[in-house]
């Protein structure tokens, strides 16, 4: 009888192609929407988290809070005091400038720093040319290492600007720098969101060419912690050293996670939003299933009456309807999950900063279960009611 009922169920599904298809569609949409939206949020988070882990779990930022009374820039003495710790401090001074190449005029941030910056900030990688050397620094050479964005904007038609000269206008002066290197684009989510038009040059060159920058004073110190050290302990040590040298509230120590908390917040909001949309889609899909099932009740009640009149037991009828509903919803769920995986995989391939493909099995299971449950409950419940009627009542059902 089970085999016969499976056959009957499939015949009934084929006989009612439109209804079967619409029910199927409801489940597919529900499962697809929930799985895709929630997973997309998780993929975005994973992309950003991976970025943080690759780049900055061992990085601190110490920043002067100039709004606080008694705030002073960090000095070479501060740097000297901190250098007892297992850290490398990236000395930096920046100045806003304008870069001019032929007709192109581009706002350019000049970053004066040390020659071993690429060893301290591991995110610095060169696409072309070289970084400036200690020798360049010692003689305050007029050289500049452009960021990828700066190279793109200043030399839109030149793939290799190494060796070209840039006229830089800074605080009323004009200087000519030779491009010696171009950095790789900043990878990952940060690079995608941030437009970094800057050029690195020796601190000595910056001091010489930019009036008003005081030597040996820093507003901002990126600190790279040795990889084998516990970042939180080093953070405490940095704080305790600086607290002895200046009022405690006049500076801030931030981890990169802290600096990126905005991104995290955005991601959480994004995930909540997508999850909400997913839940609504599931609801809509569920209502679609419910609607189709209820609309077909009249027709099917008569069918049930007839089958009962011909000798079908209520169990047989329920079994038939259960097989129909389970088959439709499980098939729809599977199609929805497959579609979702395929499109998410496609998105991960296409969008540059999403490089981790994640599908949350809990979300998949939940979407699947809710859809299947909706289909089964609203497919079988009316059948159950109809099967409990006497055949003549079911046949008379309008």
């Amino acid at each position: 009888m089970l085999f016969e009922n499976v056959r009957t169920a499939f015949v009934a599904l084929l006989e009612n192609r439109l209804r079967s298809l619409l029910t199927l569609l409801g489940v597919v949409i529900g499962v697809f929407a929930v799985t895709s939206t929630v997973s997309l949020g998780e993929i975005a988070t994973a992309g950003i988290t991976g970025e943080i882990q690759a780049f900055g779990s061992q990085t601190l930022f110490v920043q002067v809070l100039f709004d606080e009374p008694g705030a002073e820039p960090f000095t070479d003495d501060d740097v000297e005091a901190l250098s007892r710790l297992p850290i490398a401090i990236l000395l930096q001074q920046t100045a806003g400038a304008t870069g001019v190449v032929g007709e192109e005029r581009v706002s350019l941030r000049l970053v004066g720093t040390v020659a071993d910056a690429p060893e301290i900030d591991r995110s610095i990688e060169l696409a072309r040319g070289r970084y400036f050397s200690p020798d360049d620094a010692a003689r305050a050479a007029s050289v500049i290492v452009l960021s990828a964005d700066a190279a793109e904007e200043l030399f839109p038609n030149d793939d290799d600007p190494v060796g070209e000269d840039i006229l830089v206008e800074v605080r009323g002066g004009r200087v000519l720098y030779t491009v010696i290197g171009v950095k790789e684009p900043v990878g990952g989510a940060l690079g995608t969101f941030a437009n970094d038009v800057s050029g690195d040059l020796p601190l000595e060159t910056l001091y010489r060419d930019v009036p008003g920058i005081r030597q040996g004073e820093y507003d901002f110190l990126p600190i790279s912690i040795d990889l084998d050290r516990d970042a939180s302990i080093v953070e405490q040590q940095v704080t305790s050293i600086l607290d002895r040298r200046r009022p405690p509230d006049t500076y801030a120590v931030q981890t990169i996670e802290g600096a990126l908390s905005l991104f995290n917040t955005i991601t959480v909001i994004l995930q909540a939003l997508l999850g909400g949309i997913g839940a609504i889609s599931l609801l809509v899909g569920g209502i679609g299933i419910l609607n189709i099932m209820l609309v077909s009740v009249t027709e099917r009640t008569r069918e049930i009456g007839l089958r009962k009149a011909l000798g079908a037991t209520p169990q047989t009828i329920l079994q038939q309807f259960l097989i129909e509903a389970v088959f439709l919803t499980v098939l729809g769920g599977a199609v929805g999950v497959a579609l979702s995986i395929a499109s998410l995989w496609g998105i991960v391939q296409v969008v540059p900063f999403l490089d981790v493909f994640v599908i949350n099995p809990v979300v998949v299971a939940m979407a699947f279960l809710v859809s299947v449950a909706t289909g089964v409950i609203f497919g079988v419940w009316p059948a159950r009611r109809a099967a409990a009627l006497s055949p003549i009542e079911a046949l008379r059902y309008e």
Partner: protein, 269 residues
């Protein structure tokens, strides 16, 4: 009071689930109903008494018509006799078995094995072929697919639709649909064939052909009970049971019979 004593058929052991019509016997009635009552409760507490203590006995091999004005309870009676509905009270024995004692499962078996019901509106599955429609009750009996198909073919052949087996109901005329419905009722070899206004939706010529088919089935020894409100339809049978206000008013033998000369399967619309 309405004893129908038509004992003109061979005895029947009454043991098998599906006695062969030809050997139907007289010792026990197929239908024995006593003091049947059916009350429908409408909205606002209104009650309609469709049957008010009806007694009826039908012997094997009988061919009878149930007549009565609309609202007399004749359709309700047939539905109860067909186990499609249950009486509010009273006793109904089908082939010696008290129907009120049966559970859902057993009741389904009774509908499947003992009763062949022909509806006025045919009630065929719209998207199934004639053959599939006729085979459906056999499926619920657990007959295997091949035997089902053979039995359904025979039944369709019997009603003259051998050449329409693969057609769907919407490809058949009204008369052909009713023939499919009769074939479906016959396929299970039931104890009794119940027909609710079987010609009610048909024109008179097609109706006559359907009646000819019932006459021929009766001639084979089948027990047939038919509800109608047309006197000339009723006169095809041997007995007319007249119902009024939920009780049997009269039971008359039909003397002037028009023996059927039509062979089933004659061409029609």
């Amino acid at each position: 009071m309405n004893d129908a004593s038509h004992a003109n058929h061979a005895p029947n052991a009454m043991t098998g689930d599906a006695p062969t019509p030809g050997q139907a016997a007289a010792s026990r009635p197929v239908i024995e109903a006593h003091d049947l009552r059916k009350v429908y409760t409408l909205g606002a507490g209104m009650e309609v008494h469709a049957l008010r203590g009806l007694d009826l006995r039908v012997m094997p091999g009988e061919y009878a018509a149930i007549m009565g004005p609309s609202g007399s309870g004749k359709s309700t009676l047939l539905q109860i006799l067909g186990c499609l509905d249950t009486p509010t009270s009273g006793s109904y024995q089908l082939s010696g078995e008290e129907v009120a004692d049966l559970d859902e499962e057993r009741l389904s078996q009774v509908r499947n094995r003992r009763i062949g019901f022909v509806f006025q509106a045919y009630n065929l599955l719209g998207r199934a072929s004639a053959l599939e429609n006729v085979a459906l009750p056999l499926m619920y009996r657990g007959v295997n697919a091949r035997a089902r198909r053979d039995a359904a073919r025979n039944a369709l052949d019997r009603v003259g639709l051998a050449d329409r087996m693969g057609h769907r109901p919407n490809e058949l005329s009204g008369g052909q649909k009713q023939r499919v419905a009769i074939a479906r009722a016959l396929a299970t070899e039931p104890d009794i064939l119940l027909a609710d206004e079987p010609t009610g939706n048909l024109d008179s010529k097609t109706g006559q052909e359907i009646l000819g088919l019932f006459d021929a089935l009766h001639a084979e020894g089948r027990t047939i009970l038919m509800v109608t409100h047309e006197e000339d339809v009723a006169e095809h049978t041997e007995r007319i049971i007249r119902i009024r206000d939920g009780v049997v008013e009269a039971s008359e033998s039909v003397t002037q019979r028009r023996r059927p000369t039509l062979m089933p399967g004659g061409a029609e619309g």
